[in-house]
Symmetry: C2
Subunit: 203 residues, 2 copies
Amino acid sequence: MQIRKKKRGQLIVLSGPSGVGKSTVIAELLSQRRDIYFSVSFTTRRPRTGEADGVNYNFVDRMEFERMITDGELLEHAEYVGNYYGTSLKIIQEKLEAGIDVLLDIEVRGAAEVHEKCPEAVLIFIIPPSFEELSRRLHRRNTDSEDVIAGRLRKAREEYRQIPGYDYLVVNDKVSEAALEIISILCAEDCRTKNRIHLVDGI
Amino acid sequence: MQIRKKKRGQLIVLSGPSGVGKSTVIAELLSQRRDIYFSVSFTTRRPRTGEADGVNYNFVDRMEFERMITDGELLEHAEYVGNYYGTSLKIIQEKLEAGIDVLLDIEVRGAAEVHEKCPEAVLIFIIPPSFEELSRRLHRRNTDSEDVIAGRLRKAREEYRQIPGYDYLVVNDKVSEAALEIISILCAEDCRTKNRIHLVDGI
């Protein structure tokens, strides 16, 4: 419908601690909102078994990544355990200008960088129902040693300190409910007066 | 569920021009969100045929209304075509403190007064898809003369000037969609970090 058409897409940033179930929530969200463009990050880390280029990440070498930094092609980037991770500015701008909502899955430092550069971005942080539950989920994955899990929980506590900088807080107790809350947030953001004032024809 | 429990109810203010179909949208909203308390206004105007005391309005006489003003019992009030209209502060406070969301259907001046006294209130303005459509809806109701309709449209244009003071703008094209948007807005407001920060246990 013409009258509902948005002028510009919405930039959505999703963060949350390792083990919270973010990928599952994102998959559920994207299955219900197929119009959202999920931004695939660039990284210099090697693909793990089962990971595909362009799906999980865009895998590039260090020289190419550093060229992207130099040429200002990245909206945000960070170095993490010796590898670069970053988000392409160009692709995102194209989508937003075409009126398409763009979803980024990035950690707290990258989110802060995006927020600084795009103050209109919507920042959502996903937490587990409790810290014990996060620990249970990390153990249940059965992929990490106790030391690694302890490290992830320590990191989660650090990340939690950045929560006040996020607009919304979603508790991932049930995946379907968490996805529904995010869908509601995106709908509400579309309804914000500043995003719809062009629909008012009587002034 | 304990973890989702809100500390305090949300105050929701709904405004919109005469003829936009606000009552129908509210009825649909309340049928889906039975936990919301719809605040019935007090008025000194006489009940119209079919109107019931305590349902459409709480009908009181002028002396009682003025006593309520003097005793500070009203959150907002206005005089309109010789009659008083107002919202009870006490009932609303009780509901909000009990964690119940409260919905007010009030016009733009009253909404501004509520916003001043309760800055945390969520203000939603409902518009028709177009001004011509508003005119068509007012004619279709078949209750008003051409003069009265012209007056309502003039008033709508005045009310539209206050839209930038509202948080959200909902277009009532289809009632079910407008109600769904309001439900999404209320869900999103519940998800705001400031309303949920008490759920974070790891900091």
